[in-house]
Symmetry: D2
Subunit: 323 residues, 4 copies
């Protein structure tokens, strides 16, 4: 099902650009409620990071007419790996060519998924250098612990909507060299979701079938990790106090067993705060766990039924009429 | 300081063989107090694992005259990686040749560190297959959560004592292809400790200078991970109830920031229960964090002074007279 | 709304007798899954307790034709308080007279609520004396921490169903001397639930309107407390592994802010594992928090909708046809 | 050993006045690092509270030449209880008479301990009314969760130094009507410490023998409670980041089993952040747990040795020369 030769070209998921029609409110959400730190600003964009993200940014927040994902990026393991992977992508026909980079990183190779999501890969990066007031007490930490809001630690994973899970999964495996760790296979033989990784995290990207089967690069959510399930619960307390819309959770996913909590940031994008516990993907020959339709109907790990909006809502939003 | 070409030959730390002069008591400790599960038995050895370890075993407990480490092993990422890495080791002059394997895994290449620790690498493995009573509710989990004792989840890392940290570090980097993430450099220019990894965990093996500078392959401790710091605290409660000697902790290390707890199992080997939180080593070009002598004198993260025995005690024990 | 003279006659909720048609399975549930300890046995009953319950028992499990509550009891603060309170109850017309006591406690005054729930109050009690294998390491603890199952610590509170919340609330306040800390008042002026306490816990007993308005002393649930919200989450993991039916949760109640998890024990009775955090009722003049119908429609604290069965199911069960 | 008639006159420990020679720095510590909220200001004093403290304040911070305790206060259970208790104190000869009250509460009866600590009792109080920006989402909570610093929830207990533990214990029991729950009795028959309560918390006040046997009303520490042990660990992370001196902990006390963490606020007063878990004192006839000298030499629950300063340092400081 997946290629037997494992690639080590991509080091990790690096950042996401979120588009927001309410840039000021979105910024306040990410700084005050999520507890993130702004490291820079350029044009219509603010660059943000969790307190233990080592790069200049993991979130680029860009003012826009509509919510959605501007692009997302992976960092390569070396300059050679970047060149190699760019060549493979080029060959797939979905390459868009080299771009100059951005605040925080160097030259990047741009491409799209079969659904039209904008992706980039790059190697040269700028490590975050905390200003005096944000220097950590321990030198092996990127920044001082903020002790503000949900205190999210680091970017964890992305979730995309796709018109065809199987096609996107093959793209992720064959073109990007990611490994599929879990997937959902419906009774009718159609794949409903897949989780892929390039690290020892059990997934760096997830994607599920778009309810509207819109192949317009829709975004489902971005996830920031905290250290414990208790941190997720505390985040829920904080979202409640700030009037942030909690869509579902906290609860434990059956798939991947992540302890999750989903909210909508003011611009309309779905954001997750999550904890994987000590779960890691260490086996080099892990075979995808395949969940059946019957198994998925049991709901989340402890029985919570998935709310309808989780299956239908993404950004940019698609109206039923529009389809 | 470290080679710029990163190796992906070794997938992860796989298991350790501990020698114990009190095999029955040690077994009860690992099963009843640590919450591990015995998967097999052969000769003088019992094979054990944490509830989320995917292989047949991560701990081989072998009756012996004295405590200590029998051997430890890494799993390679592929058959080709195994062959390649074996060849590199062979060339180093520390190879001991291929051995037939063991319960739970196939053919292995054996070698020693410059200190004489016995190591092995292998690829072919036996995935753990839980008997009916231990099948998990969720199919993406190796075994049912035991709900017994400290419920350790998975093997995390090993700590070895060495006569010369610098020599062992170069061996780990150059011969095994591991990356150094943190180290201690004394004012006199001698290295006092180093932490190396082959995964996105920030360390898979640590080693510190043997107080007695004994180059006899001494063992410092093996660590099992739990999901949260609260799980480590609960383990302390349980060790207290069972009369297990707590050497130090729970507390947070400054180096690597691991939340730790050290005890002695009945056979005399030091065992750690720990939680890293959501901390991962994602940067492909991480430069080692170098701690100075002055910094280390500050004690652990929150100020706890390191107990003397932590610097001197290892297995097999060395008496001052014996040196 | 409540009497201004606060009574100190009742020290705390002491125990509950649960009836079960599946006594062996129920016993295994409470011992293996909940982590409770059996302290004695007599006739068709087994006596059980959490590891920090100081009395001989807090749960009496009695074989019966149908699930439900046999009786529940409070311990008085002194022999004098017992006599005084018995006299007040006698006067209410709901007294049933003195009974000889039971395993674990002395003479008790029996009575019923207006709904027919059987209650008792007593003073003389037998402190739990752990056998050698269960002696705790710390002498200020009732018993060794079991490190088994959900490890519930102590009895926390009871929840009863009533045909008329207002009548039962006045009984609890005026006859038993409890204080109402929170309540639900519907738009039509009818009370839908109330929470009363005799301690610094914010509630020792809760009661809500019986969907069937059955005045037959129906039982909603009994709750055992654990130390943290993480302990509740771990209990959920354990219930899942044991195939125990999770009705709802873990989540946080808006009312009383308790972090909750509801399951059905094999006999059919609802059992809760919960954590109140550090919340206490310290104010001597606390005025009941009154929740409106609109507020309750928001669901639980973080938005979870209350499952239908939570409003309708109790023991003994009432069928719609039977009403 | 303790009076058999339990008093219910005092409802709970209400507040403490801390004196600080560095008022601005102390205020920043309590607001930014501890996460407390200032509710008022008068003269040289600022009034502060944890987010779930129901009264106007639980901490009065007063600029002064030296660190130490200005006074501490209990709230009575009723106006009648206040009068009754004042009369009992008057009779003891340690009464100082009625005072007008303060910001946040009404008329109080002032008195001293045999050591000269200033105490007050009162009934009339001002409930905290949060300004618009601090209104909580849930109406059964005193204030919005701050999501800032250590987020301490509520005042928990006080610890005083005394020249004679036995004398102060009898004062606490006989004159104030508190119950002793645990104590330390040295081999020479002298009491070294005692823990007393007027609530279902296992202690509201603790006192230990002053190393200098100074009968000058010295203060050891004030403790604020958080919801979990994880919250205490996070507080340690935050203190580390802010350069706050951590004296000892986090660790678990053997006596009372509190999970503790001690720091010095900038003015020099010792402050504790702690979690008792779900431990409560429910038994009306609890007999004091008496710890022997041998038992105390085992250190804290998990073996941590108590640091020397914990036995000698208090505020105002006493120099060895001064004694």
């Amino acid at each position: 099902m997946k290629s037997t030769i494992r690639s080590f070209d991509l080091a990790h998921l690096a950042h996401v650009e979120l588009l927001t029609p309410k840039p000021d409110e979105s910024l306040r959400f990410f700084v005050d409620v999520m507890g993130m730190t702004a490291s820079g600003k350029e044009g219509n964009s603010v660059y943000l990071r969790g307190w233990d993200d080592y790069e200049y940014h993991t979130l680029k927040l860009t003012a826009s007419n509509a919510a959605g994902m501007g692009h997302m990026a992976f960092r390569a393991t070396s300059p050679e790996a970047l060149q190699h992977r760019a060549a493979v992508i080029e060959e797939s026909g979905l390459g868009r060519g080299w771009v100059d980079g951005d605040l925080g990183h160097g030259s990047a190779y741009a491409f799209t998924t079969p659904d039209g999501h904008n992706l980039e890969i790059y190697y040269e990066t700028q490590w975050y250098a905390p200003p005096p007031g944000l220097k950590p007490a321990l030198k092996n930490q990127a920044q001082r612990f903020p002790a503000r809001g949900a205190n999210v630690r680091r970017l964890d994973h992305m979730n995309l909507l796709t018109a065809d899970v199987s096609i996107l999964r093959h793209f992720m495996e064959d073109v990007l060299g990611l490994r599929t760790t879990e997937m959902i296979l419906l009774d009718n033989g159609r794949e409903a979701g897949a989780w892929v990784t390039t690290t020892n995290k059990t997934y760096d990207v997830a994607f599920t079938e778009d309810h509207y089967r819109a192949a317009i690069g829709r975004f489902h959510h971005v996830t920031y990790a905290v250290d414990s399930r208790e941190d997720v619960l505390r985040a829920a307390d904080i979202f409640l106090e700030h009037g942030v819309h909690i869509e579902t959770g906290p609860h434990k996913h059956a798939v991947q067993q992540t302890f999750f909590l989903y909210v909508y940031e003011p611009g309309g994008n779905r954001v997750e705060v999550a904890s994987p516990g000590a779960r890691l993907m260490l086996a080099p020959d892990w075979q995808p766990v395949v969940w059946t339709e019957t198994e998925r109907k049991l709901g989340q790990a402890w029985g919570l039924k998935t709310v309808e909006s989780f299956h239908t809502y993404g950004t940019p939003p698609v109206t039923d009429e529009g389809e």
